[in-house]
């Protein structure tokens, strides 16, 4: 929800909105992780299993994003939202 909030309320460009959103997610994720770790729900080995390849992915994704139009970024995000809605409904 951070990306559309930045685009529609604060008039960010798509690329700036996605970059700033990632910075915000660090804080939110850290809070959530600490909270869940206290309940013993976090498995660091499995987090590394998906997270380490994801580090390569995020570097690649950010690089690709600089080479596509802002419109394409917006449409990709819209497609992701529709997929999320479909997953929630069905």
């Amino acid at each position: 929800m951070i990306v559309p909030l930045l685009i529609f309320w604060l008039a960010y460009g798509e690329r700036e909105a996605t970059g700033t959103s990632l910075a915000a997610i660090v804080l939110i994720g850290a809070y959530g992780t600490i909270d869940q770790a206290l309940y013993g729900n976090v498995k660091p080995a499995y987090a590394a299993l998906v997270g380490i390849p994801a580090l390569a992915g995020v570097v690649a994704g950010a690089a690709v994003q600089q080479r596509i139009s802002q419109r394409a970024v917006a449409l990709l995000f819209a497609a992701l939202l529709v997929a999320t809605a479909a997953e929630l409904i069905f």
């Binding site: 929800m1 951070i2 990306v3 559309p4 909030l5 930045l6 960010y12 690329r15 996605t18 970059g19 700033t20 959103s21 990632l22 910075a23 915000a24 997610i25 804080l27 939110i28 994720g29 850290a30 959530g32 992780t33 869940q36 729900n41 498995k43 660091p44 499995y46 987090a47 299993l49 998906v50 997270g51 380490i52 390849p53 994801a54 580090l55 992915g57 995020v58 570097v59 690649a60 994704g61 950010a62 690089a63 690709v64 994003q65 600089q66 080479r67 802002q70 419109r71 917006a74 995000f77 819209a78 497609a79 992701l80 939202l81 529709v82 997929a83 809605a85 479909a86 929630l88 409904i89």
Partner: protein, 134 residues
């Protein structure tokens, strides 16, 4: 084999993070539940840990490209933390299915707004590429 596919989904989730500024949990969670046999709660919690590192590296890279407003990001993050606490209270007050449908409707409205914006605005630079990498 499950580990390889989970790693591949991790890579794709990270790529999505770099492309559209999300944490990648939309792919991490199914990988953890379906391939690594975790419960939904443990998968979401474990996914959060991966997201922290992925978002930190992504934010660092995007900062290098000139796409991060650090102060705004910190403010949004702080409000996000408060939102998590509010979300827990809401989740306890409303049924899970109602929450899912409300969030799905919100996603669809925002998606429609984004598409409208793309169709309406043909502003200079909207179709241009970003400046070169750092």
């Amino acid at each position: 084999m499950e580990y390889v596919i989970a790693g591949l989904l991790g890579f794709l989730g990270g790529m999505l993070g770099g492309l559209v500024g999300v944490g990648g949990g939309i792919l991490f969670v199914p990988a953890l539940v379906i391939l690594l046999d975790q419960t939904q709660v443990k998968a979401e919690a474990t996914s959060l840990m991966a997201i922290v590192f992925v978002a930190a590296l992504g934010a660092y890279r995007q900062y290098g490209y000139g796409n991060v407003r650090v102060r705004d990001g910190l403010v949004m993050g702080a409000f996000g933390v408060l939102g998590v606490a509010g979300g827990v209270a809401l989740a306890n007050a409303v049924s899970g299915r109602a929450l899912e449908l409300m969030f799905a409707a919100l996603c669809l409205v925002i998606a429609a707004q984004l598409v409208r914006r793309v169709l309406r605005h043909d502003e200079p630079g909207a179709t241009g590429r970003a400046p070169g990498p750092p």
